[in-house]
Every structure is written in structure tokens, then in C-alpha cells.
């Protein structure tokens, strides 16, 4: 299944992000960012399904929480940054 990872600066920010999405009935799951996309070391990401990404971005923009980095998981397991 194709999914996206919204990379967040902190665990708390990831929790706020997930909470905002869940309030809009969008399933969101918090996980530790894969090392290759974590940026300056450890970070957390919010995982959303492909079909929910567009709506998730709208919800987050409305909440003043537009993400700065989003990645898609490729079929080979690698991650590619998505242009927002």
C-alpha cells in the first residue's frame, strides 16, 4: 500500500498533527521517521494513506500546521520527497 510520511520537528508536533487529522476523520499514525529522511537526527512522522493526503494537507493548512516535508514510500521501500 502506498503511503505518505509527514515529517515533523518533534514528537509533540507530530501528535498535534495527528490529532488535527483525526478530528477531521483522517486516519493518522505516528511513527519514528526512517533514518534516511529524519533530517538532523531523530524525528517523528505522521503516516497517512495515499487517498487521504490531499485532504490532510487542506486540513493542516486550515489549522496553521502546513508541513514542510512530506515523503512518499516507493515500491522498492525507499522514500522520495514530495513537492508541495
Amino acid at each position: 500500500m502506498v503511503y505518505y510520511l509527514i515529517v515533523c520537528r518533534s514528537l509533540t508536533y507530530a501528535q498535534r498533527t495527528a490529532a488535527a487529522l483525526e478530528r477531521a476523520a483522517i486516519t493518522a499514525h505516528i511513527l519514528r521517521s526512517p533514518k534516511t529522511i529524519a533530517g538532523e537526527g531523530c524525528s517523528h512522522s505522521v503516516k497517512v494513506s495515499q487517498r487521504n493526503l490531499a485532504e490532510a494537507l487542506v486540513v493542516l493548512k486550515r489549522a496553521g500546521m502546513s508541513p514542510s516535508r512530506v515523503y512518499i514510500m516507493e515500491s522498492d521501500g525507499s522514500y522520495k520527497e514530495v513537492e508541495l
Binding site: T12, Y13, S43
Partner: protein, 373 residues
């Protein structure tokens, strides 16, 4: 035991608090230090506590709610951020050593805005004068005196600070859980509070509520974020929360916050004020007692200080303790408050109540006090 020392620590807690602590110790690990279930369960609890506190205390975002060891730790963070060596700071006449000792360590010039006990209008006049006379780096004001239960007029004091463009630090140690703490309305730079008093959490918990100002860390270390960088993260809460958190304590604090939220601060305050009025009525019938009573002003919370003629306050506290009454005697770590009230040489005996005290306990306390004098 008749426990009347809730201004130090509430002993009787809602049963959910110890249940939450036990559950956390059995099932929760460290937030941000792993993606496994035990770590994420802890993270969820910690976040819920931040969210609940943010809602209760008018904080814009849960990220601006910082977990600390206690109110002293929170006040040190706030003071170290805003006050630099040699700065002038205006404080109320009722500040605790948790405020004045950090200021002393910074060699700050302390200007006291007093106005007298249970005289809020006079305090506001003094504060206005101080703000126009000097240009302080900050104003630090307790919402309630830990010695006398005097409720200071925070809404109007905050407005004066706002008009003067001076950042405000609020010590909500004695008010959180009984009075509205309104960080947003006050536009305060910081508000500090313990978890173990009116919020009914465990000892070892506290909160720093942050306004829009950047805060400086006191502790440096791991945060579970930006691990490649050797500087602390520049975002909250990570910037101020180095090291493993007190997850069990925070879980208990969340249960305490939920209790306060469900009961309502107005209801809790009304109950405590009713008990204090009853205490004043009963104690005023005992000859030789001097009560620091402001109940007729409406500016007194659930704390009453008193002295007994010819009896040292510590001796009286000891006599009461032997009869199963827990009070606190002495200076209550607040020499400035005693200086303002003229009790620095003698100290006072302080009786303080919580949501769990009853009118029957107040009556028994009065009877025992009469017997031990």
C-alpha cells in the same frame, strides 16, 4: 489525621491519580525514545496531559505546556529567560523564595510593589507607580499568597504590565485548580505551577506555561529530536525538556487535571472559601488568637494564617501535630510575604484546605486548637 496543609501538598487525591501512576509504571516507557507500544502509550499520555492543561489554562498550543519538576523549576526557567544580572524586577509583596532566590542569584535589583494585606486596590496603585518609576525587565506576581491566601488582582495587574510593555511571570502555585489561570487573557510571558497542590497530581510534577517569548533551557541533553545537532532544539517543548520525563507523575497529573476539570475551579474555590469562613468563625471564638482574615474582602482563598498569644508558632504546630492535625508553621519559605504582613519576627501557623476537607474537620480542628492552647 485532619490534613490542613494542602498549600504545601494536597495529601488526599482523587483515586484515579494513584491508579494512573500505577498503570504508567506497569505499562509505559519513555516518549520519543522508541516507536514501540510502551513508548507510544507514554507519548499519548504525555500529549493528553499537555492538551488538557492547554485547554484549562488558556494556552494556544500544547507545545507551550512544559513539564517541570515543580513550580520552583518552572519559575527558574522563566526567570533565567527574562532576567539578566543586574536587571531590575518588580515583584508583589507576597512572593515565595522560589521567586526571590533565583533573583538574588542573578543579583537582580528587586522592587517590591506591596500595598498591604488583602488590599488589592492599593497593590495595583503601587504596581502602577513601580512601572512608571523604573523600567523592569519583568514583573513577577503570585496569584495567591502561600502564607495568607490573599488573592492578588491578576487580571488588572496583567493589564498594567501589558500597557507598560513589561513581561509578566505569574506564580500560580496556590491558584492553579481553584482560580482561573488565563495565560492568553493575561498575555503573560510565563505562568508556573506545581502539579502536586491544587491540581492533585503527584509530587515531582509541575508545569511552565509559555507565552510567545522564546525560553532558555536550564538543562541540556537528549530530547529524542534533532539528535545530530549539539545545540538544544529551538522549538518547544523539546527546548526545555531534556532527559527522560516523569511519565508516571505526568499520568497522575493528567488524572488530577481531569478531576479539576470535571469538578470545576469555581466549585472547588467556593468549597474552600466556605471552609475558611467557617474556620474564621470558629477560631475567632478562641481567646488569644490573632487571625489574618480577609474573608470579608472576597480576596482570600483556602488558606488561613494565625498566631496565638504567648505561644511560638512552631510549638503550636507541634502540639497540633501530636493531636493529629497537620498544619504548617514558620515562615513558609516566604520571608517577603511575612515582611509585608509584619510577621517576619514571629512567623504564623497556616491552615490550608483542599476539595477533600469537610466542615466536620474544621470544627474538630477548632476544638483541638482550643484544647492545646
Amino acid at each position: 489525621v485532619i490534613y490542613l496543609d494542602s498549600a504545601a501538598t494536597t495529601l488526599q487525591k482523587p483515586p484515579a491519580v494513584s491508579g494512573a501512576v500505577r498503570n504508567a509504571m506497569a505499562h509505559m516507557a519513555s516518549p520519543g525514545r522508541g516507536g514501540h507500544r510502551a513508548a507510544m502509550l507514554a507519548a499519548d499520555t504525555v500529549f493528553r496531559c499537555r492538551e488538557t492543561a492547554a485547554r484549562l489554562f488558556e494556552v494556544d498550543s500544547p507545545e507551550q505546556v512544559i513539564f517541570t519538576l515543580n513550580a520552583t523549576h518552572a519559575l527558574n526557567l522563566a526567570i533565567r529567560t527574562l532576567v539578566h544580572p543586574g536587571d531590575t524586577v518588580v515583584i508583589s509583596g507576597y512572593e515565595h523564595n522560589a521567586v526571590t532566590r533565583p533573583l538574588k542569584a542573578l543579583d537582580a535589583h528587586i522592587v517590591v510593589a506591596d500595598g498591604g494585606l488583602f488590599r488589592p486596590e492599593a497593590f495595583l496603585t503601587e504596581l502602577g507607580d513601580c512601572l512608571s518609576r523604573c523600567q523592569p525587565a519583568a514583573v513577577i506576581c503570585t496569584q495567591v499568597s502561600n502564607v495568607f491566601g490573599y488573592i492578588l488582582p491578576l487580571d488588572r495587574a496583567a493589564a498594567l504590565c501589558g500597557d507598560a510593555g513589561v513581561p509578566l511571570i505569574v506564580d500560580a502555585s496556590q491558584s492553579a485548580g481553584t482560580l482561573p489561570v488565563r495565560l492568553g487573557t493575561w498575555k503573560a510571558a510565563f505562568a508556573a505551577m506545581p502539579g502536586h497542590k491544587g491540581l492533585y497530581g503527584p509530587q515531582g510534577t509541575g508545569l511552565l506555561l509559555c507565552g510567545s517569548r522564546a525560553a532558555e533551557p536550564l538543562l541540556y541533553g537528549g530530547t529524542g529530536s534533532q539528535s545530530l545537532r549539539q545545540e538544544m532544539p529551538d522549538f518547544l517543548p523539546d527546548r526545555l525538556e531534556a532527559g527522560t520525563q516523569n511519565v508516571a507523575g505526568i499520568a497522575g497529573l493528567l488524572a488530577g487535571l481531569r478531576y479539576v476539570q470535571a469538578a470545576g475551579t469555581e466549585t472547588i474555590l467556593a468549597h474552600e472559601q466556605r471552609l475558611i469562613r467557617r474556620m474564621v468563625r470558629e477560631l475567632s471564638r478562641i481567646p488569644g488568637l490573632r487571625l489574618f482574615d480577609g474573608t470579608d474582602t472576597g480576596a482570600q482563598s483556602g488558606v488561613l494564617s494565625f498566631q496565638a498569644e504567648g505561644v511560638d508558632c512552631e510549638e503550636l504546630g507541634e502540639r497540633l501535630s501530636r493531636r493529629g492535625v497537620a498544619v504548617r508553621a514558620g515562615l513558609h519559605c516566604a520571608p517577603y510575604a511575612h515582611q509585608s504582613a509584619g510577621t517576619l519576627e514571629t512567623g504564623t501557623v497556616r491552615a490550608s484546605v483542599s476539595a477533600f476537607n469537610t466542615e466536620g474537620e474544621i470544627d474538630r480542628f477548632a476544638a483541638i486548637l482550643r484544647e492545646v492552647l
